[in-house]
């Protein structure tokens, strides 16, 4: 096999890693290299050091150790049967790349994943070795996210958490049927079993640290997962349901949704047409509704249409409000916080500002205007000192008044 240069291999292995949506570098413990030892820091909030033209943040060096793989998952560019260029890095090469990028302030740390070579446990050992060299030999205090291989020895998964800030296992597809069809070598019970183990280890370590200050930290930024949207028949309602179960069962920090996108040398089993990127966006919005706005999963599902799909032209919060108009208008001067959070166009920050400001005086429409982006969107749903929507809330054509003006339809390239 011809040996590629570091640049060529970096290109191959970054290209192979880009279908993992997560690039978060936030939510871990505070660390710094003050005192002159080691390198790096983490301060809670992650930093996006660059943005690619796909609008995604580049925070971490996100690569695979190798894109050789013994698995044959149809949606994956690295599957065994794909005709793609293969490459591998040694753990030391990944360490050197990470450090030279970090010193130049290109990245917050490393997100390392890998195709499965030899065996799952062998691959996992290699991933851990990279993290170990970084942490132990270079005293690296930046962020490390390790992808965990569910089929690997549980003892190895435990070691990964000692070096990494975040660990993740992808559930890959929202339904078990989808997984069986598209990822024939993977098994849903095994993936969930491994996620359960990670959860236990994280909770245990957190408990131990409450009692013993020097107990080792275990994945202080928690675990996350990713599912691919639009490669199987799952509806938005199915996905919302699955995500909320995952949050509950495994205490996940994040569920990432990745709209299936055409890959080079695609397997013939895949749908050829990608789902609209807006669908992915709407799922993230529904995720936010559950995590920050106090919506129960079934309430988010109520925003979906009869086929279980969220509308693409308006956000799920607005869709919910249009469906349950009886709950509106909401009086910004009187309503409890939970009610205000349901007003389309009012974000968490705006609601907090309203709640503090109204202790001072009664708010008028102009006051609300200063706190929101679009008054037109908010107006039909609120009552202020000087404003009452009267019939507006009940008008049949309300949707067209508050929905964003239909932009010229995004050109469907392959429609």
């Amino acid at each position: 096999m011809p040996q590629h240069s570091v640049l060529e291999r970096l290109e191959i292995l970054a290209d192979a890693a880009k279908y993992d949506a997560s690039c978060a570098s936030s939510g871990t413990v505070k660390r710094s290299s003050k005192g002159g030892k080691g390198i790096g820091s983490t301060e809670g909030m992650g930093i996006c050091h660059a943005y690619a033209p796909d609008g995604r943040c580049i925070s971490l060096l996100k690569i695979l150790l190798t894109n050789h793989c013994v698995f044959d998952c149809h949606y994956c560019i690295n599957r065994k049967s794909a005709n793609t260029r293969r490459a591998r890095f040694t753990p030391q090469e990944v360490v050197d790349l990470t450090l030279s990028f970090y010193r130049r302030n290109y990245i917050e740390g490393l997100f390392l994943s890998s195709g499965i070579v030899k065996s799952s446990s062998h691959t996992m050992e290699q991933l851990i070795e990279v993290a170990r060299i970084l942490r132990e030999e270079h005293d690296f205090r930046g962020y490390i996210h390790l992808k965990t291989i569910p089929e690997a020895d549980p003892e190895l998964v435990g070691r990964a958490g000692l070096y990494a800030d975040r660990v993740s296992i992808n559930v890959e597809l929202p339904t078990v049927a989808g997984l069986t069809r598209l990822a024939p070598d993977k098994s849903a019970p095994q993936i969930e079993g491994a996620m359960g183990q990670l959860k236990e280890a994280i909770v245990e370590a957190r408990d131990a640290r409450k009692r013993f200050r020097h107990a080792p930290k275990f994945a202080p930024a928690g675990q996350s997962t990713q599912m691919i949207v639009g490669a199987d028949a799952a509806t938005d309602a199915d996905i919302v349901d699955r995500a909320s179960t995952l949050y509950d069962r495994f205490g996940l920090r994040r569920v990432y949704y990745s709209a299936f996108s055409p890959i080079p040398d695609a397997s013939a089993v895949l749908p050829l047409k990608r789902p609209p990127l807006m669908r992915e966006h709407r799922l993230y919005q529904s995720d936010w509704l559950m995590r920050f706005y106090g919506y129960a999963p079934h309430e988010v599902q109520e925003a979906a249409d009869s086929n279980g799909m969220l509308p693409l032209d308006i956000d799920p919060k607005l869709a919910w409000a249009l469906r349950f108009r009886g709950d509106f208008p909401v009086d910004v001067n009187r309503a409890p916080r939970e009610k205000l959070l349901r007003v389309p166009g009012l974000g968490v920050k705006a609601v907090n500002a309203i709640v503090t400001a109204r202790r001072q005086r009664r708010l008028r429409l102009a006051d609300v205007a200063r706190l929101t982006v679009s008054l037109a969107k908010v107006r039909p749903f609120i009552v202020t000192e000087d404003w009452r929507p009267v019939m507006l809330t009940d008008r049949a054509d309300l949707r067209s008044l508050v929905a964003p003006a239909a932009r010229s339809q995004q050109l469907e390239l392959f429609g």
Binding site: G36, E43, K62, P262, A353
Partner: protein, 484 residues
């Protein structure tokens, strides 16, 4: 009552601050002014950066004396916190705004909680812009490494929008404590020697190194991590506005990445192109369509596609691998030596071939030329997956209760994954449409063996077929009953 002609109402006071981000200086002066009762519009604030002279004002550079019995100035923690960010803003009106809010706080102590108030809102907006600039500096500073006699020195050129350099120094110290680094900006510079942080004079771009070999790797990474199928230029510009691009080594690639993206996606889809339209509505239509199929390399090798054959109502469908030399010439499946073996075994097991639909996982013949012979070549997984669309179409029309896959290629065409035939043979597997799948070896495998090995395998093959025969009669019984 104070006399109306109090000089404080007419006089304008000038306050000179040492630096544009001199919060302590502003706070001390503001305290004095409040205690002296100086109205907000009577103070002109100055820094070395923005020298302004109000020529027509009556200027006093002396601090006015405090009013007799003036209470100590009141403030709030919220205000002080926000003010420390606001003071870093480049807006020259920031000092007046802060003084005006401080003035109002004297009579309205909870003003800061009224976040809908125009002044408070303005303070919050300015503070937000400053915080964003601080954050963007942490993100977009790019060090370039130079080697000199003392070792490595990392130098960056950056152009912040606001006066944030000093406030941001701590972040870089905490992160790069063991490195020697300098950040140069048009207004000032910071130098860290591994021990102390020094401030230096304004710098120019020419003072910073012009390149770094690692940037080639970084650019390569940036281009490779970009997914051309999901172009979202607006989202990128929102977080990485153009004004930062000139100091980002990777940004030079953006125009060509965007230009190439649509072409790249189109190419990917083209390469994997598959008609996703309606499935053919009859076996004849499939037979006609596969003749023109060029979706994979085998389809393009000039051979004739071989359609399956048998009654459309068959309860059993047998799937082989691909047509061979004889089948391709005759245009019918299972005529060659392996086909003969299969037919003989079916007869012995009591499975009437006339009531069975036989077809292949791959419709074209893949071969290698060896002299005059066309030597059979296994289809690749990808080719089987591509051809699966046709096999699925046949299954949708024939709707067999039982499918028998001969060999690993046929199994893949039905399951979508590669299985070990020896492990999965002899038991039923359920397919998506509810039918049963049985898997056994391909008869050509038997032909390649001889002696005892062949006898043993023939026996197992025959055994599998007998099981299928009895399963087939079981399956047809209840169905027959329900029809009666």
């Amino acid at each position: 009552m104070k006399p109306v002609c109090d000089t404080r109402l007419a006089q304008t006071f000038h306050v000179s601050l040492d630096r544009p981000d001199d919060f302590e200086g502003w706070r001390d002066a503001a305290r004095g002014m409040i205690r002296a009762g100086v109205l907000p519009d009577r103070i002109v604030w100055e820094t070395p950066a923005d020298q302004r002279m109000d020529l027509f004002a009556q200027v006093s550079r002396h601090s006015p004396p405090p009013l007799p019995d003036a209470p100590p100035p009141r403030t709030s923690r919220n205000f002080l916190q926000l003010a420390q960010s606001v003071i870093l803003h480049s807006d020259s009106e920031r000092f007046s705004l802060l003084y005006r809010v401080l003035w109002r706080l004297q009579s309205h102590s909870r003003l800061m909680e009224d976040r809908a108030d125009a002044d408070v809102r303005l303070m919050e907006d300015l503070a937000r812009q400053v915080r964003r600039d601080i954050h963007k500096m942490r993100a977009f500073v790019r060090f370039r490494c130079v080697e000199n006699e003392d070792g490595e020195h990392y130098v960056a050129w950056f152009e912040p929008e606001h006066h944030i350099l000093r406030a941001n120094g701590g972040f870089f110290v905490r992160r790069f404590a063991a490195m020697r680094w300098s950040i140069l900006t048009p207004r000032a510079s910071l130098h860290w020697d591994g021990d102390t942080l020094h401030e230096g004079p304004p710098a120019s771009r020419a003072d910073a190194p012009s390149g770094d070999p690692v940037e080639a790797l970084w650019r390569g990474y940036y281009a490779a991590i970009f997914n051309p199928s999901r172009l979202k230029v607006g989202a990128m510009l929102k977080e990485m506005p153009r004004r930062y691009w000139k100091n980002l080594p990777e940004a030079a690639l953006i125009p060509e990445l965007i230009a190439g993206a649509q072409a790249r996606e189109a190419q990917m889809v083209q390469a994997g192109a598959q008609e996703t339209g309606e499935r053919p509505q009859s076996l004849e239509a499939i037979g006609a369509a596969i003749l023109a199929c060029r979706r994979c390399a085998i389809g393009c090798n000039g051979t004739r596609a071989v359609m399956g054959e048998g009654p459309e109502t068959s309860a059993l469908m047998i799937v082989g691998e691909q047509p061979g030399d004889i089948e391709e010439r005759e245009g019918r499946p299972f005529l060659g030596p392996a086909g003969q073996v299969l037919r003989a075994h079916l007869e012995r097991a009591g499975i009437p071939i006339g009531q069975t639909y036989v077809t292949n996982a791959v419709k074209h013949f893949k071969f290698e030329n060896r002299g005059k012979q066309r030597l059979h070549h296994n289809p690749a997984a990808r080719e089987i997956d591509t051809c699966r669309w046709w096999l699925d179409s046949e299954r949708a029309l024939v709707r067999p209760r039982l499918v028998l896959a001969l060999g690993a290629s046929a199994a893949r065409g039905l399951l979508g994954r590669t299985v070990s035939v020896q492990q999965v043979r002899g038991a039923a597997h359920r397919l998506d449409d509810g039918s049963e799948l049985w898997i056994t070896t391909h008869p050509s495998y038997l032909l390649r063996l001889d002696g005892e090995g062949r006898e043993a395998e023939e026996a197992r093959f025959s055994d599998d077929l007998h099981k299928i025969a009895s399963r087939l009669s079981e399956l047809s019984k209840p169905a027959a009953g329900s029809h009666a």
